[in-house]
Amino acid sequence: MSLDAATLRKDFPILDQVVNDEALVYLDNAATTQKPTAVMDEMVNGYYYKNNANVHRGVHTLAERATVQFEAAREKVRRFIGAKETAEVLFTRGTTTSLNWIARSYGELAIQEGDEIVISYMEHHSNIIPWQQLAKSKKAVLKYIGLTADGQLDLADAEKQITAKTKIVSIAHVSNVLGVINPIEKIRDLAHAQGAVIVVDGAQSVPHMPVDVVALDVDFYCFSGHKMLGPTGIGVLYGKRAHLEQMEPVEFGGEMIDFVNLQDSTWKELPWKFEAGTPNIAGAIGLGAAVDYLEKLGMDQVEAHEQELVAYVLPKLLAIEGLTVYGPQDPSLHTGVITFNLDGLHPHDVATALDMEGVAVRAGHHCAQPLMKYLDVSATARASFYLYNTKEDADRLVEAILATKEFFGHGAF
């Protein structure tokens, strides 16, 4: 039995509103998800109204409560992703910051002139540019794994690109454009066989499917709170202890130090050595509440629900004349992310028209310009589903697309 999305919607009051005279259908979940009342309550009532204080400093009661609440959130995240210990769970601003920290700190340690860093053509800009910068500063080589005709990672090419010179492989678990789920275990094996580490951009996977970092046996794993019912400004960098121990912090200041002398200082133990300055306390607590919410539903249920929606809507979309879906056409290879274009129409015009029908989708390059070039399109429209979306939402999307075609095709002016 899968989720009862219609009932869940009551936890998301924002969904119950009219935009442009139509009931809102929110299908921009790959950009950010809505937040349930429980998350907002925990941040505002649970923390700000009762416990607001700085963490890890001061002996007074509120400081202690805030610290306990903050660290409890870290423990929830640890359990959620199956990490061995909270020392391996660093709070960051989001996936972007996590990836930048790895590139800056691990990259500093691991990369020499002539070494290779391997990513793929379907990466988000935040999993491209930190590596470009690293490659430039170290005179290293940045390589790209190609895609198959239907938009999956080309494993034969991965085998060619990952060589004895490769030190870091960084791949999205799920593409934010193609919705395709990448075979992380296979890439991990290729990387480890060459002595390279594997970094996983989990921004689009952790919110949508069960993820266990120990079972996956990856070196680093990154994700963002705001794409999994949590607030903005909080994210996670998971790293294996052995790597994190070796790495230098990227930022320095309060909270992360042990002893500060005039000329040098020593760092706190993990995970705090990386978390300089006052952290996003409310954000972490909100993320903890989001994890509670997702665990109560069960991530396998969330995944099954999205699977059901995609199996329902993808054939309907593919049946629309002149509509192209990018990425695999087989629903079982997809998360709830569906990227498409309508013949002869620019995706901005499509998105504006859908908005007038109450359907919120994204249009543009989705922070993946190399992928757009690879697909030979300048932009696309993207509908992305989540646990609170229903088949009615899927029907509304299909109807709105048909109405959009009609509007531009027959000129009802």
Binding site: L345, H346, H348, T352, A403, F407, F413
Partner: protein
């Protein structure tokens, strides 16, 4: 239904310009040229002008954009060709007022471009309409580049 609101944005004249844009293509030689993109959405315009005796003698645009940005570029080229540089720069200001929902003084000068006033009700699309005008502004005030292959690449701020 709510799609009928789109009539305010996509009027027939606008759709005509976007499907058959005027002054679309590449000039063999130009006195001013610029490439400008809208990093938020990936739209990009290349604009070339021949300015002689303080007058826009010829203008062409190319690039990649939605129907609003393509139509706007087409209308803009119609509006400014043959105009004095100072007058064209004045029109940049007028157009900017227009799409923000204000009534410019010399609406008629804008020609078909005045049809884009409906964009004001679609705040997310104002940048689509203003991209070509911003490119014009830059090309006239700073984009003096005489080599045809040396595209200036700038992000819209």
């Amino acid at each position: 239904m709510a799609l009928s609101r789109l009539d305010n944005l996509y009027r027939q004249v606008i759709l005509d310009h976007s499907s058959h844009p005027h002054h679309h293509g590449i000039l063999d030689a130009s006195t001013n040229q610029i490439e400008l993109n809208n990093p938020a959405c990936g739209d990009v315009i290349q604009l070339q002008l021949i300015v002689e005796d303080d007058m826009i003698k010829d203008i062409k645009f190319s690039g990649n954009g939605c129907s609003i940005s393509t139509a706007s570029a087409s209308m803009m080229t119609d509006a400014v060709i043959g105009k004095k540089v100072a007058d064209a720069l004045e029109m940049v200001q007028e157009f900017s007022l227009l799409v923000q929902g204000e009534e410019p003084k010399n609406l008629d000068d804008l020609g078909d471009a005045a049809m884009l006033s409906g964009v004001a009700k679609f705040p997310a699309r104002i940048k689509c309409a203003t991209l070509s005008w911003k490119a014009l502004n830059r090309a006239l005030t700073e984009g003096k580049q005489t080599t045809v292959d040396g595209h200036l690449h700038r992000d819209e701020e």
